[in-house]
Symmetry: none
Subunit: 138 residues, 2 copies
DNA sequence: ATGATATGAATGAAGG
DNA sequence: CCTTCATTCATATCAT
């Protein structure tokens, strides 16, 4: 490898097709139904609720629920959280270094409100446990 | 993404020259005095110099230099290098058709088990010691 | 206008 | 957790 070490920056916006298998970013094919919407919705909702590193049990439950929308594996859920958290953090960390003009930079204020209402995931009230070390960028 | 975000894409992506301007393909119309000229030149030069994965510091510096030609962000530089390297590899992959045998085919072992850090997460059944080591990211 | 090509952008998956 | 690779989408320009 090159190993020039480091160099990273990614933006994490709307979720992609987590169950897309090889589908990286772009999106789903026009023929796909709309399970992604439910999937992304659930995951995003969970994330916003403060869940950052789901435990084994959580992942299992989530994947089980998501499987109803389509093919989904535990690892997909695991990866999703890992990536989402990482990208959000990286985005906040590096931002940009444009020393000329910074017009209309899209800054997304983190809404870390513990609001989990539409989530179909029926936990036994556990989401908080796995995220006790949650911290914000401030 | 799904189509439900197509509108969002137009604004967020606005694909084009590296600086999110307008020119997208065609390899930067040769013969027109655009800032891209310098931009592409610098990036290509750096790439040819051996720089494939610039570190954060490098990206910062490069973007700063390039900002003189026009609006550009670290994100753009990062993407440029990522894409350039990926494309080079991708093209090289196709060219490997000489001989009628092309190895390096994308192998995707459907293993329900992945190794993460020091823990082995078994997605096939139950995760073994998922994130027992909750380390602060701050 | 349509097709092909090129490039930026985004994310899933995997390695370390 | 951090870094990198691979794949795909969306769009712009060029070629027909």
């Amino acid at each position: 490898m090159d190993d020039w070490v480091s160099g990273f920056y990614v933006k994490a916006a709307a979720a992609g097709g987590i169950r897309g298998g090889g589908n990286g970013g772009g999106g789903t094919k026009c023929g796909e139904v709309e399970p992604d919407r439910g999937t992304s919705e659930v995951l995003t909702d969970l994330f916003r609720s403060g869940l950052r590193t789901p435990s084994t049990d959580q992942i299992q439950r989530i994947s089980t629920q998501l499987s109803l929308y389509g093919k989904i594996e535990s690892k997909n859920v695991f990866y999703w959280f890992q990536n989402h958290k990482a990208r959000e953090r990286q985005k906040r960390r590096k931002v940009s270094a444009d020393g000329g003009d910074r017009r209309g930079k899209i800054i997304r204020p983190d809404e870390d409100k513990i609001v989990l209402a539409n989530s179909i995931i029926d936990f036994g009230g556990v989401i908080d446990k796995a995220d006790y070390h949650n911290q914000e960028e401030g």
